[in-house]
Structures are given as structure tokens and as C-alpha cells.
């Protein structure tokens, strides 16, 4: 669904943080905003949040120009996790180029994770995206809490799907960057096949990832 304008030399990509309510999607973007270099990164825009619950969506935009002159804008969205905002989720999911599914590690949230993942499958089909093809990764968040599903169990459950799984504690900034970098890398592969980023635009995967997921200078020094 990549939006690509050959004449204008412009490409707009859309990455979506999906998952059940309260799993930490917004927190992921907040942390990314905190740790990533200001250059090429826009402000985090949160649209109409009520008591910390996303009602519309959050948006963290990135912009850079490839050595070949291609202007690339990457918009990272979160969806509202609450069941009742399904129409908004569909709208945000439309034309997505990559998805990070943020699951809540707490055992009590297992059913919600499953329900939300099924919702993702359903909505992807609805907006005409093939779940087998789109870059997709899973993050099990809130690893800092007690009564969480074990890592072994998670790997056992997801290994066969081939979907990359990450452990995170977004509140404390752990695993957030790793998740994002992998999502960005997978998205690069996905687009490179279709638009020859490297050949035509002299944009390598490393450059792509670094442009989007570059730590801010003071953090990088540590």
C-alpha cells in the first residue's frame, strides 16, 4: 500500500502499533519520542486522549531524504485498543506498511491479547492487506510486572508462526528501540522488493534504519 509518487520523488510509509487496550502502545511511542534524535523526527501528536486512553490515535512522524533524492516520510501510528473503537482501528490500519502488535504480558490479559490479534486479522482482511505478507512483529510488554506469561511459553506459542517476538518494558524504555528497529528493518525489506530502494535511490537498509531509529546524541554517548 506504499504511497509512492515517482514524479515528486516522495514516499509515505505507515507503521501501526496495534494491540489490546492498555497494553502500552502509546507508551512505546512516548519512549521512542524521548530517546530518538530530534533530527528527522517530528513531535508526538496525541489526538484526543481521555484519561490516558487513546480515543483517536497517536502519531509520531519521521522525515528524511535518501541520497538519491527520494523524500521519505514515515508515520508511526497507535490505534485505540478499546474494543468499541473498532471503526477507528480500521481507518488507521488502512494502507499500513508494517505492524507492531503490542501484547500485555500479564496472564490476566491473555484473552484480550488473543481477541485483539483476531481483531487485527479480521481488520487486515477488511482493509485488503495480506497478513502473510505485511511486515509484522510482536512485542510482549510489561515484563517488569508479576504474574506474567513466561518467555518460554511465549516462544513456544509463536515460534511456528515465524513472527519475530520481543520482550519489553515500555514504561522503563526497555525493548522499545529493538522492537522499532526490527519493524523498520522488515519494512525496508518489504519496500525494497517493490521499489528497489537500494538500486534506484541508493538507500541501504542500515541507512534506512539509522535515519528512523537514531538515538539522540546524549543517549548515544552513554
Amino acid at each position: 500500500m506504499i504511497e509512492y509518487d515517482e514524479i515528486e520523488q516522495r514516499m509515505v510509509l505507515k507503521l501501526v502499533y496495534y494491540g489490546p487496550a492498555m497494553s502500552g502502545k502509546t507508551t512505546n511511542l512516548l519512549r521512542l519520542h524521548d530517546i530518538l534524535a530530534i533530527e528527522g523526527r517530528g513531535d508526538l501528536m496525541t489526538l484526543d486522549t481521555k484519561d490516558d486512553r487513546t480515543i483517536f490515535f497517536d502519531l509520531l512522524p519521521f522525515f528524511f531524504t535518501a541520497p538519491g533524492g527520494l523524500k521519505i516520510k514515515v508515520k508511526v501510528y497507535t490505534v485505540p485498543g478499546q474494543v468499541r473503537h473498532d471503526a477507528t482501528r480500521k481507518a488507521v490500519l488502512t494502507r499500513a506498511d508494517g505492524i507492531a502488535f503490542i501484547a500485555d504480558s500479564q496472564i490476566s490479559e491473555s484473552a484480550n491479547n488473543v481477541e485483539s490479534f483476531e481483531n487485527l486479522e479480521k481488520n487486515l482482511a477488511f482493509v485488503g492487506i495480506d497478513i502473510e505478507k505485511i511486515p509484522l512483529i510482536i512485542q510482549f510488554n510489561k515484563r517488569d510486572l508479576k504474574d506474567i506469561i513466561s518467555e518460554d511459553e511465549i516462544h513456544r506459542a509463536w515460534e511456528s508462526t515465524g513472527i519475530p517476538v520481543f520482550m519489553a518494558s515500555a514504561l522503563y524504555g526497555q525493548g522499545v528501540l529493538e522492537t522499532f528497529r526490527r519493524l523498520v528493518a522488515l519494512t525496508y525489506d518489504y519496500i525494497d522488493i517493490r521499489h528497489s530502494l537500494k538500486e534506484k535511490h541508493m538507500l541501504t537498509k542500515e541507512m534506512f534504519v539509522d535515519n528512523l531509529a537514531r538515538l539522540s546524541a546524549d543517549l548515544a554517548e552513554q
Binding site: 523526527r41 517530528g42 501528536m45 502519531l59 516520510k73 477507528t88 480500521k90 481507518a91 477488511f126 482493509v127
Partner: protein, 457 residues
């Protein structure tokens, strides 16, 4: 759902500065800057061309040439450092992308600190305006998208609901009619069933009776013949006596007269003839019954309905001529029928016979054949006196007849009915008094093996 996929729900379409801002959003700010002492305040696009400006606007309506050069070289990073003593430049970002510039210049005399402050304040104000507009646009866009999608979904649901409502409405409206139709159908089926049952049991009974009658009839018939021969012998003997003169006594003459021997001899002939005729008739009835019960011994073959009808008419030619009846044939194309030609002829014959007897003169029998789908439909109509509706249900019963004794035994239609049902067909009668009767036979052309139930199986 498919239909809905065509609508583009994409969100957050790319916006340029002109998409975000409009004159009423920016001009008041620019004016205020000029009023505060600025020489020129301008908002440009990403190429440095003025979009909105106030104050001493240069003729070329663009940023100072040094800045324009830097822009062409795409050297955005260092643009802001180009600011001079009497002017300030700030890039405007939207979603991390530079989409334009904010420019302010002042007369040389103006305090440089004041210029910086003016720039900072105004630029912050501009960014707040931009951010709010973008949020509003996004919110509206999302809202519209969601509403549009919900609307599409509602439309779809509504369409389905309307369809099913219509279906149920139609159903409700036709329900009464359907109930009536179904009830009629059930009634007809039930009547047919009863009829079959009745015919089957009556038929069995009749067959038994026929058998019982056959044996005594055999000796009654032959005894009558023998008796006739005996009587002839006695008669001859008596004649001999009366002619023999020697034996002609007055006494015997008187006795002969008293006993009405001459009359008796004459009458015996008539009596015996009548008895033999009667016995003959009874024998015929039994033969008919037997024919009827031996139906299933027949062998089947491919035949043409039209040809068999012609054959049947041929068999009846004598009868037709005698009654100077008119036969109107309206044959259509009918595929070959698999069955026993003898039986089919028999079935036609009985109906034709009845038609020929349906009135005294000017008889017209119209025979129509045609094919309806997989069925042969044969209709035989007469212009006779018709069949009263109260007996229409009984005419197929064995021994049901309205004809005088000796003229009909009421087995004709029974036989026809049995033959037709054996081949999985059916026969119906339509008649109104004085308007003739029409018998319609429907025979399935594809079924090879007869399915109907005969009476004597």
C-alpha cells in the same frame, strides 16, 4: 463488504503549508508583527516563495537571494544560520518535514534583541496555530472516515434488512394464498389416496368375485347348451308322436292343448336363448375382470403415442362409422414412450368408447397430443352430455356405471386408470353438464419402469 473496499479510507494524507494554513490564519499575525515594528513579515513555501506577507513586500516576492541559493542546493540544515542582523529566518516543519519558512526583517535601526524576541514569539504562535489546525484536520478526517465507514456499514445492513423485510412482507402477503393452495393440494392428494385405496380394495374384491363367478358360470353355460340340445330331442320326439296317425288319439290331443305344449316348445327356444345371452354377458364381465387383472403380464417396448392412438381409432372404425361420429386429431410432436402398446391402446380405447357414447348423434371427439417437458399429455374431449360433478370422483371405480344393464359394466375407466398409473402417469377429467367431457392423460416419458400400483399385485 466488497463494495465498501473501494472507498479510500486512508488517513492523514500529506499536507503542504497551503493545505494547512489560510490567509485568515496567518495575516493577523503578520500584521501584528509589522505593527510591532517589523519591516516585512512573510510565510513562504518550501521553495522560499511568499505565500502570505505584510509590510514592505519585495517585487520578486521571495526570500533574500542567499537563502534562495541555499534552498536550491537543498542545504536546509544550515538555513537558519543565514539570518542576518536585520532579518530572521525559521523553517516550518510539519511531520518532521520542512514545508516552508517564516521570515521577518526590520529596519536597521531596530534593536537586534527585539527582532529575535519578535521572531520567537511570532514563530511559536504560528506553530501553535499549525499544530491546532493539523489536529483539527486529523480529527475531522478520522471522524469523517469513521462516520463514512459506519454509514457504509449501516447502508449495507440496511440493504440486507430491507431485502429480508421485503421477503417476509411478500411471504406474509402470499401466506394466506399459499395456505389455501397447499390445503387444496393436500385435499387433492388425500382424495387421490383415498381413491387409490378404494379402488385397490374394490379391485381385489372384484377379482375374487370374478373368480368365484367363473366356475359356476362354466357349468351354467354348458348346462344350458346341453339343455337346449335335450329340449330339441324332446321336441323332435313330440313331433314324431303327433305326426304318427296311429298314435293320434283325441285324448293325447286334448292333453297337448291343455299343457300348451306347442307354446312351450316355442317359448323354450326364447327362454334358453335369453339365458344363454345372459350367461354370455356374465362371462364377458368375468373376461373383462380377468383382462384387468392380467395387465402386468404384458411386455414393454418403445412406441409412438400418436401411432397407437391411430391404431386405437382404427379398431373403433366400425363404431365410429355406425354413429357417424367425427374425430378431430390435433397431434403434436411427442417423444417415444416406453410401455406396452396393447395396454396403452386399451387405455385410449375405453375413453374413446365412452366419448362415442356420450350423446346420440353429431358426436365430435377431439384428440390432442403434445409434449410438456418430460411428459406426454393426451387429451380426449367430446361434445357429449358431460359428467355430473357429483359422480366425477366415482367414474374410475370398478363397476361404476350409469348405463343401462347390458350396455356398460363400469370397468372401462377402471382399466384405463390402472394402466396409466402403472406407467407413473395420471388421468384427470374435466366436465360440465351439456358441455362434454375432457379426459387428460399425462404420461412421463423418461420413467421406464411403471411405478403406479395395480390392483392385483
Amino acid at each position: 463488504m466488497e463494495q465498501m473496499d473501494r472507498i479510500d479510507f486512508s488517513l492523514g494524507a500529506d499536507m503542504g503549508l497551503k493545505d494547512i494554513l489560510s490567509a485568515p490564519d496567518v495575516l493577523p499575525l503578520l500584521k501584528a508583527m509589522v505593527e510591532a515594528g517589523a519591516d516585512l513579515a512573510a510565510v513562504t513555501d518550501d521553495k522560499g516563495k511568499f505565500l502570505w506577507s505584510e509590510g514592505n513586500i519585495p517585487d520578486n516576492r521571495e526570500l533574500p537571494s542567499t537563502v534562495m541559493e541555499a534552498i536550491t542546493k537543498r542545504d536546509h540544515k544550515n538555513l537558519e544560520t543565514l539570518s542576518r542582523v536585520n532579518w530572521r529566518l525559521s523553517a516550518i516543519y510539519h511531520e518532521a518535514e520542512p514545508i516552508g519558512f517564516f521570515f521577518v526583517s526590520a529596519p536597521e535601526a531596530l534593536n537586534e534583541q527585539f527582532l529575535s524576541n519578535l521572531m520567537d514569539t511570532a514563530f511559536t504562535g504560528l506553530n501553535i496555530i499549525i499544530r491546532n489546525i493539523v489536529k483539527r484536520v486529523f480529527t475531522t478526517e478520522l471522524h469523517t472516515t469513521v462516520v463514512k465507514r459506519s454509514y457504509e456499514e449501516l447502508l449495507e445492513i440496511n440493504k440486507n434488512l430491507t431485502a429480508s423485510e421485503k421477503k417476509y412482507k411478500e411471504l406474509a402477503e402470499t401466506l394466506e394464498q399459499r395456505v389455501i393452495e397447499r390445503t387444496e393440494e393436500l385435499k387433492r392428494a388425500y382424495t387421490r389416496l383415498l381413491q387409490q385405496e378404494k379402488m385397490a380394495s374394490i379391485g381385489k374384491l372384484a377379482a375374487g368375485v370374478a373368480h368365484e363367478i367363473n366356475n359356476p358360470m362354466g357349468f351354467i353355460y354348458s348346462n344350458l347348451n346341453t339343455f337346449w340340445k335335450y329340449i330339441k330331442n324332446i321336441d323332435e320326439m313330440l313331433r314324431f308322436y303327433s305326426q304318427e296317425s296311429g298314435h293320434r288319439s283325441r285324448e293325447s290331443e286334448e292333453l297337448r292343448k291343455k299343457l300348451k305344449i306347442d307354446f312351450i316348445i316355442n317359448d323354450i327356444h326364447g327362454l334358453i336363448k335369453q339365458s344363454v345371452d345372459g350367461a354370455e354377458r356374465i362371462k364377458n364381465i368375468v373376461v373383462n375382470l380377468k383382462d384387468f387383472s392380467h395387465i402386468d403380464e404384458a411386455t414393454d417396448s418403445e412406441m409412438s403415442i400418436n401411432e397407437e392412438m391411430d391404431n386405437t381409432i382404427g379398431v373403433l372404425s366400425h363404431e365410429i362409422k355406425n354413429r357417424s361420429a367425427e374425430i378431430a386429431k390435433q397431434y403434436g410432436q411427442v417423444a417415444g414412450f416406453y410401455g406396452n402398446p396393447g395396454l396403452i391402446c386399451q387405455a385410449f380405447l375405453n375413453i374413446l368408447l365412452n366419448a362415442l357414447h356420450s350423446r346420440d348423434d353429431n358426436i365430435i371427439v377431439t384428440i390432442k397430443t403434445e409434449q410438456h417437458g418430460d411428459n406426454a399429455v393426451i387429451s380426449i374431449a367430446d361434445n357429449g352430455k358431460g359428467i355430473p360433478s357429483e359422480i366425477q370422483s366415482r367414474i374410475f371405480e370398478p363397476f361404476f356405471t350409469t348405463k343401462d344393464v347390458g350396455k356398460g359394466i363400469g370397468m372401462g375407466l377402471t382399466v384405463t386408470y390402472d394402466i396409466i398409473s402403472r406407467y407413473g402417469g395420471n388421468i384427470e377429467v374435466k366436465s360440465e353438464p351439456e358441455k362434454g367431457a375432457t379426459f387428460v392423460i399425462t404420461l412421463p416419458l423418461n420413467g421406464k419402469r411403471e411405478t403406479g400400483n395395480g390392483f392385483y399385485e
